[in-house]
């Protein structure tokens, strides 16, 4: 017995172990069961959605082997975002809404086919509530009591509520006008006022607008007034007579008529089409609810759901009585194509792919943000660079404008000074030429006058001697007559003298006027003036290399005096076709005096030897000087006045001007002596810049012989401060 008892105990333990193992196994299997979420659009609120879809879902869950599907009602405002954010395995909503989403990887499972006979069947039924739904018996009793109280009124409304149309199942649009309206067909809506809910509402404005467009009535042909939600406002507006027609969602008229809000007989539908719906529609009716499986849903789950949806009707007949109505009212068919709806959206230019071009761009930017950022950075940098360069260019342009203005002013002043100098030179030359014959006339006149007076004196003496020989009366008369004649002659001669003196005074005044305009003395920088003269030469300076070397930096000279001296000499050299023009400033002794000498040398071939004498000096006669300089000046319109002006200006400074022919290479060497380390080379380039460069290179000269104009200026003109200290600093 004891053994038997032990065997029973072991058997009992084994059974317990087996049960425990089974329990663990079941628990393990149960642990593999997944929970999936079904996102359902709840346009009428969560409670309504829950009430409508939960029974169907419960049945579906019952038919699933392990997995569970949880219903999640989603508000219309943000259901798209929630679907994209939360990872729903299943989505149930209007087909038109899916068009607006990214449905890549989705599978369309079924489209709900509403049974026109059972549209209302989703309404809450008290009879469906079971005792098991309540926690206590008392609650169940109270509920049954309430059911009995309401049964009479419920029965009274039963007939009325059967076949109650609803806009929830299908999508379509109805275009209503007043019964007595003259609008008979779609074309009559031109230039009419139409009311609608929202421009984006597919089951409303878009379908009718598309219909009108197909019939040749464009949106611009009629005036549309959007009243927004609630949708009843459309028909209210029509009722009030504010508009000619109203675009209403499918079944709105029927709903409102059912609620007694409107008298349907007073209104007429435009373009009625035959549909399966209980409601009147002007357009084709599109299915509303479509079940889709997202990429999160496993294939097994989808397969199970499909099996249930399309075999559910047969199976449900064997199910309990409470689920018959639910299964019967939800008839699922194969998913309908959304091509028609998409085509309408395309034609109305409302398709998401059309609308969300900007969004696509944003997505693309998001995907390629590194490159976009780089490109953006480059663009920003380029823009900043462009702005910076533009500013630099603007500033440079302003500088050039100011510089050009300064050059123009300088040129103008220089021209004015030159004009004065020319006038002075010409009037001086004219005065000289007139003065010479005037002097001759006056000399002769005065000589004659003196001789005449002397002769009269001699005659008087002579007459005294011959008094005794001639009769007194005759002689006296003759002498008197002669005296009168002599007096007339002398008066005439005196008149000549007076007039010549007067003319001489006039000439003196002219000369004084010509030489009076002596500007104020200023400190002049020799190098700066030289560069300014190069600028003034303009295009003429292109191709010429300018050299500069000076022991002195500044001079105390009348304003523009040095400019005139240099520009005249440089122009002269340029006209000779020089390729090198050199300016060398050095102290030199001449005529036992120390001078600052500015040597302006070119390689144009030199002066005509015949015109250069051994004792080259400025103190030649004006006519000779002019002749010599005229030969030098090759300019077609040149008067040969340039060097004459220089000579005159030098003289006005108590200086001298000397002309000579020199070896160009010697001059180069002389320049090097001044600046022993380098030569200063100034080149005027095509872009108008004057560049000062230092070079050791020796450039070949055009001619071996060069013309040199040496301007001897008194050394006191050199500013005492810079005479030695500024050596080689220029």
């Amino acid at each position: 017995m004891q053994f038997k008892q032990q065997i029973m105990e072991v058997g009992y333990v084994l059974i317990r172990v087996v049960f425990a193992l089974m329990f663990v196994l079941l628990s393990f299997i149960k642990a593999n069961a997944q929970t999936y979420y079904l996102g359902v659009l709840a346009p009428q609120g969560e409670a309504a959605a829950q009430q409508r879809w939960q029974p169907w879902l419960d049945e579906l869950n019952d038919n699933l082997t392990d997995d569970t599907i949880v219903l999640v009602p989603l508000a219309l405002e943000n259901w798209q975002q929630q679907i994209e954010a939360q990872q729903f395995a299943l989505v149930l909503g209007p087909q038109i809404q899916f068009i607006k989403m990214d449905t890549m990887g989705w599978r369309w499972l079924a489209t709900l086919q509403a049974d026109p006979q059972t549209v209302k069947s989703n309404e809450f039924k008290m009879s469906d509530v079971k005792q098991a739904d309540f926690k206590t018996d008392e609650q169940y009793k109270l509920y049954k009591q309430l059911e009995n109280e309401l049964s009479l009124s419920k029965q009274a409304k039963a007939d009325k509520s059967v076949n109650q149309p609803s806009a929830m199942e299908q999508i379509g649009s109805a275009l209503w006008v007043k019964a007595d309206s003259d609008i008979q067909q779609l074309r009559d809506l031109q230039q009419r006022k139409i009311v609608a809910v929202d421009p984006d509402a597919f089951g409303g404005y878009l379908l009718i607008a598309h219909l009108l467009q197909q019939n040749g009535v464009l949106p611009s042909d009629y005036e549309t007034q959007f009243v927004g939600y609630p949708i009843e406002l459309t028909l209210s507006a029509l009722a009030s007579g504010a508009v000619d027609a109203a675009i209403a969602p499918l079944c709105l008229m029927e709903e409102m008529a059912g609620q007694g809000k409107i008298e349907q007989s007073q209104y007429r539908l435009i373009n009625p089409v035959a549909t399966d719906s209980n409601c009147q529609s002007s357009t084709k009716i599109y299915p509303n609810w479509t079940l889709a499986a997202t990429s999160q849903a496993p294939a097994a789950l989808t397969e199970q759901i499909n099996q249930h949806l399309f075999t559910g009707g047969q199976r449900s007949t064997n199910s309990n009585a409470s689920s018959i109505d639910t299964v019967a009212e939800l008839r699922w068919l194969a998913p309908e194509s959304s091509v028609d709806a998409e085509r309408i959206l395309y034609e109305m230019n409302q398709h998401p792919t059309q609308k969300q071009l900007g969004a696509h761009i944003l997505d693309w930017i998001q995907a390629h943000r590194l490159w976009v950022g780089l490109i953006f950075f480059i663009i920003i940098i380029s823009t900043i660079n462009y702005g910076w360069m533009s500013w630099l260019a603007w500033r440079r342009r302003q500088q050039i404008v100011i510089q050009n203005q300064l050059i123009r002013d300088y040129d103008y002043k220089l021209q004015q000074s030159e004009r004065f100098a020319v006038i002075g030179e010409m009037s001086g030359a004219i005065a000289h030429e007139i003065n010479q014959p005037l002097a001759t006339i006056q000399n002769y006149a005065q000589g004659l006058l003196i001789r005449s007076q002397n002769t009269y004196f001699d005659k008087d003496t002579l007459s005294e001697k011959t008094d005794l020989e001639k009769p007194a009366a005759i002689e006296k008369k003759a002498l008197k007559k002669e005296a009168v004649e002599k007096e007339k002659v002398e008066n005439a001669l005196q008149q000549i003298v007076n007039e010549t003196e007067r003319a001489a005074a006039v000439i003196k005044n002219i000369r004084h006027w010509a030489g009076r305009s002596q500007p104020d003395e200023v400190n002049v920088d020799i190098a700066a003036t030289y560069q300014q003269c190069i600028m003034l030469l303009g295009d003429k300076a292109v191709g010429i290399t300018f050299w500069f070397a000076s022991d002195y930096q500044q001079l105390q000279l009348p304003n523009l005096m040095l400019d005139q001296l240099l520009i005249n000499c440089m122009l002269n050299a340029e006209q000779q076709g020089a390729s090198h023009i050199m300016l060398r400033g050095q102290m030199a002794e001449y005529d036992s005096k120390r001078w600052l000498v500015l040597h302006i040398t070119d390689d144009g071939g030199g002066f005509n030897e015949a015109c250069l004498t051994d004792n080259q000096s400025v103190s030649q006669s004006s006519s000779q000087l002019h002749q010599q300089y005229a030969i030098r000046s090759t300019k077609a319109d040149g008067l040969g006045l340039g060097l004459m002006i220089c000579q005159r200006l030098c003289k006005s400074l108590d200086g001298k001007m000397q002309l000579s022919n020199v070896d160009v290479q010697t001059e180069f060497a002389d320049i090097k002596v001044i600046d022993s380390h380098y030569q200063r080379r100034i080149k005027r380039t095509l872009n108008g810049k004057v560049q000062l460069t230092e070079t050791d290179t020796l450039y070949p000269s055009k001619n071996v012989l060069g013309a040199q104009v040496s301007l001897y200026l008194p050394l006191h003109l050199v500013d005492g401060n810079n005479s030695d200290s500024n050596k080689n600093s220029s």
């Binding site: 002769y444 006058l449 001489a504 003196k508 000369r511 006669s621």
Partner: protein, 225 residues
């Protein structure tokens, strides 16, 4: 006072060496030759006409170089010269004359009439500066001044030449005489005997072509001035 006509013919003889001591005193200023230098022929001839009208002896030259080549610059004379001349300007002529201690007095003529030129010329020793056209009154004044000046310069030149012949000792004696010292004092000063002083004094008088001490003193004073 006897005057010695000085004309073109005897210009060559009128040199410092040939002139006797008394000759300078006998020179009549009006009889000095007036040299006219101008490159403009008409001006040159008209100027000659005017100056000769004043009763003065004239000679015309086309350029300063020709003038210098043909005229003894140590003889007293007056030059009326234009400043703007070929080859050698009026300024350069003045510098040349100064450089060679010529007694010739130069009257500068200019057509420009610039004050700076006039000042420069006068500083360089020109007798006067005239502007063309020349006023006869101004010309006469200038000529008169120039004539006196050239005679004075000639005298100076002559005396200078005489003085240059003296030995150092004789110059010391001449200097003592100029200070009015007697032979004895001079002998003391020079630390020589009175007899030696007398010999030197006699040599000084002879070389300086002076008859009397007063005449010697006059020459030395003139030289010193």
């Amino acid at each position: 006072m006897t005057s010695i006509p000085i004309s073109n013919e005897n210009l060559d003889s009128l040199t410092a060496d040939s002139l006797s001591d008394n000759l300078y005193d006998k020179i009549v200023p009006e009889q000095l030759v007036i040299h006219i230098i101008d490159d403009e022929e008409t001006v040159r001839h008209s100027c000659e006409f005017l100056i000769s009208s004043l009763g003065l002896t004239t000679q015309i030259w086309q350029s300063a170089l020709t003038f210098l080549q043909q005229v003894d610059i140590y003889a007293p004379a007056v030059v009326v010269s234009d400043l703007m001349l070929p080859d050698m300007s009026g300024q350069e002529l003045q510098v040349y004359l100064n450089k060679h201690d010529s007694p010739i007095a130069l009257i500068a003529l200019t057509g420009n009439g610039e004050i700076a030129d006039a000042v420069t010329m006068l500083k360089k020793g020109a007798a006067d500066y005239l502007e063309k056209p020349i006023s006869s009154r101004r010309l006469q004044e200038a000529l008169a001044r120039a004539q006196v000046l050239t005679i004075k310069r000639a005298k100076l030149y002559y005396i200078g030449k005489l003085y240059a012949q003296l030995t150092d000792k004789e110059k010391q004696v001449a200097n003592e005489l100029l200070q009015g010292n007697l032979n004895k004092i001079i002998a003391d000063h020079l630390d020589v005997s009175v007899r030696t002083v007398e010999v030197h004094r006699s040599q000084v008088m002879k070389k300086m072509k002076s008859q009397h001490v007063s005449e010697l003193i006059q020459k030395l004073v003139l030289l010193g001035s």
